[in-house]
Symmetry: C2
Subunit: 365 residues, 2 copies
Amino acid sequence: MSTTTKPISFARGAPSLDIVDVAGLRAAADRAFATDPAGMTGYGTAIGYPPLREWIAEGHDVDPARVIVTNGSMQADAFLFDVLVAAGDTVIVERPTYDRTLLALRQRGADVRAVELETDGIDVAALQRVIEAGARPKLAHIIPNFQNPAGYTLSAAKREALLALGREHEFTIFEDDPYVALRFDGASLPTMVSMDADNVVYASSFSKTVCPGIRVGYLVAPEELIRRVITIATSTYISPSMVSQAIVNEFCRSGAIEHSIEIVKAALRERAFTLCGALEKELPDARFTRPQGGYFLWVDLPSGTDVSALHALAAERGVQFVKGSDFLLDGGESSCRIAYSGVTPAEIEEGVRRLASAYAEVAAP
Amino acid sequence: MSTTTKPISFARGAPSLDIVDVAGLRAAADRAFATDPAGMTGYGTAIGYPPLREWIAEGHDVDPARVIVTNGSMQADAFLFDVLVAAGDTVIVERPTYDRTLLALRQRGADVRAVELETDGIDVAALQRVIEAGARPKLAHIIPNFQNPAGYTLSAAKREALLALGREHEFTIFEDDPYVALRFDGASLPTMVSMDADNVVYASSFSKTVCPGIRVGYLVAPEELIRRVITIATSTYISPSMVSQAIVNEFCRSGAIEHSIEIVKAALRERAFTLCGALEKELPDARFTRPQGGYFLWVDLPSGTDVSALHALAAERGVQFVKGSDFLLDGGESSCRIAYSGVTPAEIEEGVRRLASAYAEVAAP
C-alpha cells in the first residue's frame, strides 16, 4: 500500500464517529451524575442499573425480572452459553453467521450445526431435515434482522415456522438482535420473543444506537433463566458498569436515542445505497441482496474467485474487508462481507474502485 | 426491627456516598467526552482504554504490555483463574479470606488450602509446612494490605519470605491489592510485584479510590500471561467499557484521584478510630487489631459465642454485619467482619451500642 493511499475499512462493523451523538452522550452523562449519584457510583447489582432495566422491560412489554443488563451483549451471550450450552450439546447456527458466536460455541465444545441462510432468513425446511435426520438441538442461534455477516432479514412467515419447530422439538431460540432499530424503510417485523416469550431468549445492545464503547447490552428471557444468569454475573463481576448504564438510561429516557437512531439510519441508508450503486457500476460480477437495514452487505463473487488473493490485493490498495470463509465452518471462499457502517459515501466509492481494480487482477484469465 | 430504627450496615464493603467525589467524576466525564470522543465511544480493544493502561503501567513502572484493564478487578480475577486454575489444582488462600474468591476457586474445582492469617499476614512457616507435607500449590492468593475480611497487613519480612517460597516451589503469587492506597498512617510497604515481577500477578481496582459503580480494575502480570488473558477477554466481551475507563483516566491524570484518596483516607481513619473506641467502651469482650488502613475490622468474640444468634439479634436491632464463618472453609463461628467504610462516626457509635445490646443477650449465662 502506498504511503499516500488513505486506508478504507470495509472490515469493521462499527459506526464512524460522525454518526455518534457525542454531544448527546456528554449531556446524558452530566445529567446522570446530577440525578442519581448514589445509584451511579455505588456497586449496584448484577441485574444492571435498575432504571435502565425497567426502560428495556417496558420497551419489550415484559416484567423487569425477565431482563438483565450486561457489559455489552457479547458478555450476555457468554453468560447465556455458560448456562445453556454444555460440551457436546447441539447448537444450530446460520450459515454464514457472526464469527465470534462460532468461536464462543466451539470454545464450549458445542456440536455446532450450520444451516443455510437464505435471503429471507434461515432455511427452516433444511433445519427440519437436520432434526429429522437425528439432531436434537438445544439452541438455535438466529440473527433475525440485517444479519451479520449477510445483511439478510428473517421473514415473518419463517419466524412463525421457526417458533413452531422450536416448540415441537423443544429447543430454545436465541434471537440475537443488535441491529433491529436500524431498518431503513418499511415496517419492523415482530420479534420472536414477543411471539413466544417462553421459548425465546432475546439479546440486544446499545452499541448500534448509542455507541459501542459504552458496552451496554441485555438479555430478555424467562425469569428462571435470568436468575441463573444473575448468579453467574454476580460471581464474575459483582455488577456491570453502573456509570455506563446510567448514561444510557439518561440517553434513552431523554429521547436522545430516537434522534440518534434517525441520524444513524439516514447515514446507513445512504451508505448502503452508495455501496450497491458502486458495486453495480464498478464490480458487475458481484452478486448481493440490497439490505433493508443494518451494517453489512454479503457479496458473492463468481464461483472459483480466490477471495484470499483478493483480500491481499485489496489490502495493498488500502482496502480491508472480511473474507466470507471467516463466517462459516467450511466454504465461503468466493464471498466477502462488506461493512458500510464506518465509511462515508465518498470513501465507499473510492473503496469499491480499489476493490474492482484488485478484482480485475484476481479474475484475469 | 422497629420501623423507626434506622438501619446501620457494617456488612457492605463499600464507601458511603459522602466520600465519593461525584463532582470530580462529573467533570472528568465531561472532559473525557470533549478530549477523546473517538477513543471513548468506539469499541476499543480488550486491553482496556490505552491511555489508562499507560497511566497504570507508569505507576507500576512496567511496560504497558504487562497490564490489562478490566470491568472491575473481580472480572480480572475471573480471567486469571480461567487461565491459571484447572480443576484439581492446589491454590493457597488466607484463612480467613474474601468470600467471593473462595467461591470463584471452588466453582473451578480448585483444591483450596487455607493457611492461617496472622495479624502480620499469612503464616509463611505454616504454608511451608503445608508444602513439605506434599502440597504442590500452583497459586497463592494473598490480599497484602488491610485484608478483606481481617484488616491485617502483610509485613515486609513476610513479603520477602513468601516470594522466596514461591520461587523455590514454583508457585505464582496472586497479589490482590484493592486497598493499597488507603493507608491511614506510616509508609506503604513495597508491593510484591515490584519485588519479583516474574512470579507475581498483581490485581487492583479503582473501586475504592474513584467509586465502585465505575467498575474499573486491572492486572499487572508477565506479558505472556497478559496475552492469554487478552484472548479470553476478547472472546468474552470484545472490550471493557471505554466510557468508564476514559472517565477514570481523566480523573487520574487531572490529579482528582489524589484529592479523592485524601478525602477517603481521612474519613476511613476517623471511622476506624471511632469503631475501635466504641468497641472498647461498649463491647469489651471484643478482640481485634487496629487496622492500618482499608475498610474492615475483624472481631473475635470469646470462644463459644454464637455469632449466628448475634447476627439475628443484631438484625432485629437494625444492624448488619457479616459472620466470620462466611470467610473460611470451616470455623470462624465466634468472629465477625465489621465494615466501617459505609457508615458515619455517629452511625458507628449507635451501631456498636446496638451490637453490644444484642451481644448481652447472646452472652447471657
